[in-house]
Point group: C2
Chain length 336, copies 2
Amino acid sequence: MTLTLPPAEAARELVEPVLRAAVDRLDPHAARVARYHFGWTDGDGRPRAAGGKALRPTLAVLSARAAGAGAERCLPAAAAVELVHAFSLLHDDVMDDDPVRRHRPAAWTVFGRSQAILCGNALLVLAGELLLEQKTPGYAAAARMLNHATLSLMAGQALDLEFQDRDDVTRDECLLMSRHKTAALLACACSIGVTAVEGSGSLAGSLFEFGTEAGLAFQLADDLLGIWGEPEVTGKPVLSDLRTRKKSLPVVAALTGGTESGERLAELLARPGQLAEADLHEAARMVEQAGGRAWAELEAERRLDAAARRLDEADLPADVRAEFLQIARFITARDH
Amino acid sequence: MTLTLPPAEAARELVEPVLRAAVDRLDPHAARVARYHFGWTDGDGRPRAAGGKALRPTLAVLSARAAGAGAERCLPAAAAVELVHAFSLLHDDVMDDDPVRRHRPAAWTVFGRSQAILCGNALLVLAGELLLEQKTPGYAAAARMLNHATLSLMAGQALDLEFQDRDDVTRDECLLMSRHKTAALLACACSIGVTAVEGSGSLAGSLFEFGTEAGLAFQLADDLLGIWGEPEVTGKPVLSDLRTRKKSLPVVAALTGGTESGERLAELLARPGQLAEADLHEAARMVEQAGGRAWAELEAERRLDAAARRLDEADLPADVRAEFLQIARFITARDH
């Protein structure tokens, strides 16, 4: 571990070999799809420079450090969280019919929907296996923690799909969905290291709450990027969430704020057929006028503040606290 | 447990409450699909008389009894195996585009593909959770055993999908696929009770081998039914596997036997478009003339004999041995 590397890079360098060795244990079909999804190979199986910011493994490693343990003691947990994340991306892209993932063709467009689903399933089981083969009480508890996060993830995706067919989604419902779909696995990543190395339950609890708040802030920031983000940053077309009429948090806040702009936005989004570029820009202005943008920005700030307070409760080593906070700020910054 | 009930009924009565309580813990979307899939409700959520032969839970309960333990000690394991089985059926029906399951519309035709996939995922995670929450070394080992069976199941489904696009599948490849897709979970069911109650490793090993052989015999019998089974028994149209040009074991044996009938069968199955009824009957005759039917019948008998020998190695209580054998014979009989 080179100290000059920023923490995320360092965690990735530690966790990636564990991930690669885990994927090597899969059947050849699932392994081929997984290597592509992780960015280790192209569609023909040729090696390429790896991608991925390894956010969740980095948080898991920090979590173990919070309990006074070295990174090496929580690598299976860090890898397992990343495997569950990969599982959910593989499946969500199939369900959402989303052809692009991390600026590349999504795995299902290369290998077919069935192989992408099967690969996701295999990664999910492999995650459990990495934890259980450690055969310690801490890792058994970590496996259960990851199970709960995974069930939450799926409940969030089910809500997300339900919302697509409804025009009366409330802001609270939308926050609940984000809590399941985004925050649950981040909260798990922030606390699983403590659990795996058998640190204190109250420390794990505080870090879980930190991860929940940071995860909600992250989703709010991501939803803001989905409307106002630069394509070269997001890897998606400009105004992409309006294009797909996604019920993101700023949009739902705008629709349910009781404003005239909100009503006009509802009418615009209810129009049949594809929306013209001019309509998309008009919709973005309406979200702003109806207060959706300001609410989401403020709510993201609030959640970030709440996250910081949770860290203060946790009595962490100063460097660990600083790194957690740095990551929370990084993932909620709207210029990356 | 009423002694006058045949063993399968008894196991179902014991395991179903555990399954129902487990499903109650899921998010409402997944729970709704699961209750329908298990046959507890209709598509509108109204209760109906339950179905399902609970084969795997029955084997799991027998497995615990083989180790001298009461059924009640292995119910979470018995339920977990059934949950994984349900997961695989839900997903396979989506991937295979199969609209019928147990004489009813498959779950995905009622709730959509995404909700069926999500429900399958939730059942898979729930299975792990049922085992881990027992917090004993035996159940932790059972969780790993079930993980391995699940990975095998997925590898089998990946091979099955691959075979659909190939015309050079060998009999051995086809047997390997069945070993993964069908035999692995049955073998797990036959041995997981021993593992969960911390019985001997050699007993678990013998019962695992028994389950593997019985599982292969089961698949051979099922493939024979897929061609020559009565629709009222199989719940599928007559000659259904030929209709879908499935590369089942008798068909692959016929195609690769080096006979003239096998060559004619290959030509017939390669014809574009839907096959006429007369062609389907002709194809069935060719499978028979090319020796595919006789080979599959003989191979099923051989596997059943091998399964019985594995039971003899295991030094079981006489009643447990008799029940295992009765189930193996029941699932490989071609008149049910």
